[in-house]
C-alpha cells in the first residue's frame, strides 16, 4: 500500500511537539536539559579532582567538553534505540514511515543539546577566550550528528526483533562512557594504547572537540572523513532495514 514518505516538515513538527509535551511534564522543564549534564560534570569533578587528586591543569575544561559531547550521543542513542519498539501501539493503527521514530528522537535530543552546547561555548569564551580554531566546530557537529543517526537508527531497526538488545545497548553505552575519554584525555593513557583508543569514533570525536575548542588545533580531517563515510553507510543500511521491515514491525509487536 502507499506509504507516504516522511517529510522534513512532519519530522520537525513531531519532534518539536514532543519536546513541548516533555517539558510540560516536569516542574523544572527546560532546566533539566542543562541540569542533567551539569550533575554528571559535578560527579566526575568531585571524584577525580577532589577525591583522587588526578585532575591536573585544565581538567575542568576537558571534562566539560567531554560530558557535553558525550551526553548528546548517549542520550540520543539510548532513547532512539527503543523508539520503534515502543511505538508498537501506534504502528498497529496507522501506516507510517517507521523511520520517523528514531529520527524524531535524535532531532529532539539535538535541539536540547544545542542549548547545552551554546552554554558551553559562552562559558569557554569567557574562561579561555575565543580561538580561530572554533570555526571548525560545524564539521565536528555534523560528524557527530551522522554518527548518532547511524547508531540510533540501526539500533532502532533491530531492537523490535531482539528486545533483549535494549539491555545490551544500555550496557554498551555505559561501557563506552568509560572508554571514550569523557573524563580523561588521550595523553593520560599509555602511549601503546593511544592509537587503538582513537579507533573508537566517540573517543576520537571527543579528542577532536578538545583539540579545536581548547588546544587551538585543527581537526584531523582524515578521521572525520572516515567517521562520516562509515556513519553514512550504516545509516543507509538502517534505513533500508527499517523500510524493508515496515510491514513486519506491527506484527512483532503482537507476539
Amino acid at each position: 500500500m502507499v506509504r507516504k514518505p516522511l517529510t522534513l516538515d512532519m519530522l520537525w513538527f513531531h519532534a518539536v511537539s514532543r519536546l513541548k509535551a516533555e517539558v510540560q511534564q516536569t516542574y523544572l522543564s527546560y532546566l533539566w536539559w542543562v541540569l542533567e549534564p551539569a550533575f554528571l560534570i559535578i560527579a566526575f569533578y568531585f571524584v577525580f579532582e577532589v577525591l583522587l587528586q588526578r585532575g591536573g591543569p585544565g581538567f575542568i575544561y576537558n571534562l566539560l567538553v567531554g560530558v557535553v559531547v558525550w551526553t548528546w550521543f548517549a542520550n540520543a542513542v539510548s532513547a532512539a534505540s527503543g523508539s520503534i519498539f515502543m511505538a508498537s501501539g501506534l504502528i498497529n493503527q496507522v501506516n507510517i514511515d517507521k523511520a520517523l521514530f528514531p529520527l524524531s528522537v535524535v532531532l529532539t535530543h539535538t535541539i536540547k543539546q544545542a542549548i547545552v552546547f551554546g552554554l558551553l561555548l559562552v562559558f569557554l569564551a569567557f574562561a579561555t577566550g575565543l580561538q580561530s580554531s572554533w570555526s571548525f566546530l560545524p564539521a565536528l557537529l555534523i560528524t557527530e550528528l551522522l554518527l548518532i543517526l547511524s547508531v540510533a537508527s540501526l539500533a532502532a531497526a533491530l531492537l523490535p526483533f531482539l528486545p533483549d538488545l535494549q539491555y545490551v545497548i544500555s550496557l554498551l553505552i555505559r561501557f563506552f562512557m568509560f572508554c571514550s575519554g569523557v573524563f580523561f584525555t588521550v595523553d593520560m593513557i599509555d602511549k601503546r594504547y593511544q592509537e587503538y583508543f582513537l579507533l573508537n569514533p566517540m573517543a576520537n570525536l571527543i579528542d577532536q572537540y578538545r583539540a579545536i575548542l581548547l588546544r587551538g588545533e585543527s581537526p584531523s580531517w582524515f578521521s572525520l572523513f572516515i567517521i562520516c563515510v562509515c556513519s553514512l553507510l550504516i545509516f543507509w543500511l538502517a534505513m533500508t532495514l527499517i523500510h524493508r521491515f515496515a510491514a513486519l514491525y506491527p506484527r512483532l509487536a503482537i507476539r
Binding site: 500500500m1 507516504k4 517529510t7 513538527f13 498497529n92 496507522v94 501506516n95
Partner: protein, 239 residues
C-alpha cells in the same frame, strides 16, 4: 464518474498468520485470515461483518497497509492518499490538536492545509478547549470523537472505520452517521468494519461477511445482512 480502471482495492485469496510462540525451535501459527477475496470500487461503501475473532481487525490492517498479507494478493488501484483508520491516537503525550495535524500529515497533506481545516475538526469533535489537552487524559468517547472528526474532515481516498460508531452519546452517533452518509452519497469510498448488522445496513451498499478468516458471503448489503442475521439467530439458539 468512476470505474474506468477497475476496482480501487482488490483482495485476492488473502491470508495472514501470526506467530504464536516465541521459541527457538518450534513455531506455532495463528491464522487470522485464511482466504479473503473481495473488491472495493470507488464510491463503494462496504460493510465488513463478522463475529469477534473472525479476522475483521486484521483485515482492516491489511487494507490500511499496516501489515502485508502472507498469502494471496492485495492489488490497489490509483490511490493518491493513504488510508486512514479511526481512533488515531498518534501519541498519548501529545495534545489533540497536534495529533490531528500529525494524522493529516500522514495522509500527505501539507501542514497549512490541515491547520485550515482544524476549525472544522475541533467544531465537529465538540472537544472545545480540551483539544489542547494531551490525548492520554481523554475519555474513550472523546478519543473516538476526535478520531472520527479527523478522519471525516481530512478526506482520505478510502475511509476505514473500525467499530467506533457505537461509541459516544446518541447525539454524536446521529451526527457521525449523518456525516458518514453524506460522504458516502458524495461518492467517497468507505470500508466499515462492524459486528452490528444494523449499522452496516444503514450505511453501506455492499457487505462482506467474514467467518473464521474466510469470505463467507459477499454482495448487496440487504442479502448479506439478512443471511448474517438469520445465521446469528440460529447460532444463538444452538448455544
Amino acid at each position: 464518474m468512476s470505474n474506468q480502471s477497475g476496482p480501487l482495492l482488490s483482495l485476492q485469496n488473502v491470508s495472514v498468520r501470526y506467530k504464536k510462540s516465541r521459541s527457538l525451535f518450534k513455531t506455532d501459527y495463528y491464522h487470522a485470515l485464511r482466504d479473503v477475496s473481495f473488491d472495493i470500487n470507488r464510491g463503494d461503501s462496504v460493510g465488513v461483518l463478522g463475529r469477534n475473532g473472525s479476522g475483521k481487525s486484521t483485515l482492516l490492517r491489511v487494507l490500511a497497509g499496516i501489515i502485508d498479507a502472507d498469502g494471496g494478493q492485495v492489488v490497489k488501484g490509483d490511490i493518491s492518499c493513504a488510508l486512514l483508520a479511526l481512533q488515531v491516537g498518534f501519541d498519548p503525550q501529545l495534545n489533540g490538536y497536534v495529533n490531528a495535524v500529525l494524522s493529516g500529515m500522514l495522509l500527505g497533506l501539507p501542514r497549512e492545509k490541515i491547520q485550515h481545516r482544524m476549525e472544522q475538526i475541533i467544531e465537529f469533535s465538540e472537544l472545545g478547549d480540551a483539544i489542547y489537552d494531551p490525548i492520554k487524559v481523554y475519555s474513550a468517547g472523546m478519543r473516538a470523537r476526535l478520531g472520527f472528526s479527523i478522519a471525516v474532515n481530512l478526506d482520505p481516498d478510502v475511509l476505514l472505520i473500525d467499530e467506533v460508531l457505537g461509541v459516544g452519546d446518541a447525539e454524536f452517533r446521529a451526527k457521525s452517521n449523518a456525516a458518514l452518509r453524506q460522504r458516502i452519497l458524495s461518492d467517497h469510498t468507505v470500508v466499515l468494519v462492524s459486528h452490528q448488522p444494523a449499522t452496516v445496513k444503514q450505511l453501506c451498499n455492499r457487505a462482506v461477511w467474514i467467518e473464521n478468516g474466510v469470505t463467507y458471503m459477499q454482495g448487496p448489503v440487504d442479502e448479506v445482512v439478512n443471511a448474517y442475521e438469520s445465521y446469528m439467530a440460529h447460532a444463538g439458539k444452538r448455544d
